[in-house]
Subunit: 433 residues, 3 copies
Amino acid sequence: MKVSADVRAMIERRKKGHTLEAPFYASEEIHALDMDVIFRKHWIQVAVEPDVPEAGDYMTVELGNDSILIVRDDDMQIRAFHNVCRHRGARLCSSEKGSLGNIVCPYHSWTYNLNGDLMFAEHMGEQFDKCKHSLKKVHLENLAGLIFICLAETPPADFAVLRASMEPYLLPHGLANCKVAASIDIIEKGNWKLTMENNRECYHCVANHPELTISLYEYGFGYQRSADNEEAMAAFDKTVEERTKQWEAMNLPSKEIDRLADLVTGFRTQRLPLDRSGESQTMDAKVASTKLLGGFEQADLGGLSFWTQPNSWHHFMSDHIVSFSVIPLSAGETLVRTKWLVSKDAREGIDYNVDNLTAVWRATNDQDRALVEFSQLGVTSSAYEPGPYSPFTEGLVEKFCAWYIGRLEDYANTPDEAVVPSSHGEKVVSFKR
Amino acid sequence: MKVSADVRAMIERRKKGHTLEAPFYASEEIHALDMDVIFRKHWIQVAVEPDVPEAGDYMTVELGNDSILIVRDDDMQIRAFHNVCRHRGARLCSSEKGSLGNIVCPYHSWTYNLNGDLMFAEHMGEQFDKCKHSLKKVHLENLAGLIFICLAETPPADFAVLRASMEPYLLPHGLANCKVAASIDIIEKGNWKLTMENNRECYHCVANHPELTISLYEYGFGYQRSADNEEAMAAFDKTVEERTKQWEAMNLPSKEIDRLADLVTGFRTQRLPLDRSGESQTMDAKVASTKLLGGFEQADLGGLSFWTQPNSWHHFMSDHIVSFSVIPLSAGETLVRTKWLVSKDAREGIDYNVDNLTAVWRATNDQDRALVEFSQLGVTSSAYEPGPYSPFTEGLVEKFCAWYIGRLEDYANTPDEAVVPSSHGEKVVSFKR
Amino acid sequence: MKVSADVRAMIERRKKGHTLEAPFYASEEIHALDMDVIFRKHWIQVAVEPDVPEAGDYMTVELGNDSILIVRDDDMQIRAFHNVCRHRGARLCSSEKGSLGNIVCPYHSWTYNLNGDLMFAEHMGEQFDKCKHSLKKVHLENLAGLIFICLAETPPADFAVLRASMEPYLLPHGLANCKVAASIDIIEKGNWKLTMENNRECYHCVANHPELTISLYEYGFGYQRSADNEEAMAAFDKTVEERTKQWEAMNLPSKEIDRLADLVTGFRTQRLPLDRSGESQTMDAKVASTKLLGGFEQADLGGLSFWTQPNSWHHFMSDHIVSFSVIPLSAGETLVRTKWLVSKDAREGIDYNVDNLTAVWRATNDQDRALVEFSQLGVTSSAYEPGPYSPFTEGLVEKFCAWYIGRLEDYANTPDEAVVPSSHGEKVVSFKR
């Protein structure tokens, strides 16, 4: 879509180190631009491999007006298609999850196989060419069990960088051998970028997240040393250094990688110590599932956090994984989908208990929802003007905003405005700011 | 209203034999155009004579932002007015149905007679001219008991063609001597054209309508012979031929008339045999009301189907009539109003039972609603592109779309864009495709 | 905001003595203009002093997208601020009412004192200047206990005229020493101007308000003598004259002042006799609270009515006050907030009963809501055209419309369209019609 002069001007004048101007959070024009430029042209994390454990299992994901069908075929390959019949456009599968042999349209029974080929269409006559009416494919990548899709014709090539960096961190946790123990959707009445900004700092944690801060040190999430926290951060940094050494000796990569701002497919990771029992993000910081993941033999492996641009974050622990995917619904409404995964072999009520497993993040999500909603209400006020980020605690928020504005800027400056993200391999995006 | 260049281009490039482009189903601009060009300038079927059986009876019909008051005066004449007071614009009657002597505005008691003349307005002084403040009239035609209105200043003159063709078919069923035994409104979350397209083919019937296909042969609804159905259609055609001969011998016109595509006030009709007991569209194909209509003496008269452009269809049987009127509510929402009529003399619980009378179409409407909604979800996907209609089973869908596009095209090409449909008598509209 | 050519043309051609054209009641563009030109640049009545009786008490008021925090500081001064944190824009107070020591943002605990100064903000470093991040102030005037705010940078100066005229009328009723006995919000599905127009005439009272007309004479609300009411009005005028003389002898100013049309901050007032017992607007016209207001020693003081442009009206009686504030929610939705106030010393269940106190206006508001909604439904019809106001009973409605159109006209004709209402002191606005 076209970028209007007003939006171009707002992109140009964005004040570094400050929140965005109000229309970025509230205008339907910019929401449409976000859906087109960000959510239709980047790698979007939408599912986990255990969502479709068996051959023939499918799930549907709604992304803007698009419905995507993710299906595991008989060769156990996971594929993605547009969930749209090629006859009269009817939605093919309307459940969130299910299993099927072929994909049969409910309207006139046009039938596709799990590779998307049209196998059967009655009454169409001899002129009709079935080969020209296959389901439309969607790009899909499976990163150690995390499923990303991209709706662009040519997706950003730097997913390869993400894969090369992250597989060594993620694979030891064996996500592919997990099961989804719980999945909860909440809708936040706020723009998706407020949800992401809230995720990218822990400045708000102490005042708002009593359950989360049982196990989580706020310092690991983008804090810089300052007069306000000199001593506590020195102690924390020492702990991080010691534990990192231990974990890496166990072949568990743990050091920070921060590519949030310099890649199209931006990300950040670090394995961080947990407080108290140090085992898991639970109400007592102990494991929630006694069946450890991936053949681990000890529980105090801290939390491996993994953040992606534009829409996800994940915490991998010794006993369970929590995975968050953010999907904009409108300028002022955002879906936050949280999944808790435990070992496939863990037995509910014996090895783990869903209430205990989900307690911390159910509470935390609800607190964050309220904060995002307070922000949305405020930024649409006529009195709102961009405010300053803390240079010591909100650096990652700034990186998110800078990445976002950079992506819009690149799009707006592409001659025909039908930009294809073009960073290949290690090549770094040239951000103009 | 003005037709934008984008919409003109879409009208121009419409691909014959294919579904329409997505904006025709989803854009609010085209919805506004549909309301203006189609629903405010054509004859719209909105009621049946038994809705207002007695002198003083009224009903209100909502069509876009307009509320229309349909009232039967003391001379038993049925008239239509805009339901808007000429003082401060208040809505006059807010119930769906009722009865009245004069029309009194609830706000300041301005009082109109049933001819729409302002009779009384307090405090307006001597300068005030009551004659200039009559209710605004709306054109109304009563076709054998089916009520059509037209909001245009000069309505399409070819209603005369419709009347001349259809009265001989419809009058024998005596709709004016029926009563409304049941009326059910459903709202489909889909564009009104998807509702109409769904109505214009039975390709979807076998897979979706187990109740309807007890009595209904799919072949009668726009099927052409093809390799897929050669034998069954030959048998069906033979039955049609035999029954048509019998019915016409009884002075019941039965042969197909198809003017869907060549008239402004397009329509189609045919009396078709029913399956099994062959009497009525019920769960056992037997009459639902034992008091036959219009002095009929035998029950197996099949079903006389009558379809109109742009918004209605009706099935007239020996014992009851089912009448469907479609009203767009927004680009993505459509009201389907279904009325079941039986003889005025039929006694509920004795001669007929409402549950039995309505069973088939309650189920069928609900199934069609789901199909329309699947279609709406699909066509708004970015992956949707117009798909091919079956040349053997979806010919009437194509006729509906061609008529619709032709009407928009005529409007867009009228010099001052304030087009008045102009086909008189038998003169045929020149469609440009 | 810019005034489009279409809207300018509608402003220009407004027909005096007639209702407004439909877009003034239904278009979102004009709604945005109303919020900007009328509600953000004029004095808006939003609260009463007893809403925040104690030091530290606050209330929030939503006006369009703005949330305003009204707070009483430790020196008992009432102040207004934008309810928006200067950090990341979060809403500070989310309850309608409460009490606080400092204003603490829920997000990152930025802390402001009751004067709006930023006192504390962690992690912001030494470069950060707290003085530049105070809460944004909103203009506030307290007129004898009625709280008005203005969001403009420079509010209309003629509030001084209003104050000078009205304090002598209002102060004797001692609103500051009252308490809010009941507060009821209703949402009318109609444009705010229809709500105001309905308030500015009593032509509709006899047919619609059986409870209100127990105590209220319709004639006091903008009636002119005409053939229809010659005799009754003569009797009424005589009563008004007698009672006015008595009340003014008691130092209760009572004569009509009408500045509805000639001031930016337009208003009208008059103390009017009540019917029957003549004491109060109740179901028996007797006082609802036996603790009279402001040291009054007699109950039959009639009703002092006070109307303001653009959004309020109030009835001050010997025993209680009813105060109405109108806030647009969208082009077609309006909040009407009604407060009933009695003496601070009155005891519920002993000196007054809430059901009895509120009975008349609960019923009347509901009747008016229905009338406003009928009007909204009617004016959006394609058949609607501006109708004539009664010259004898709807003169104040015309004054409201003339004031409104005049305000838009002044704005549209201001060279840079960033008009500041400019009438100072007694200087009268030059309306162009």
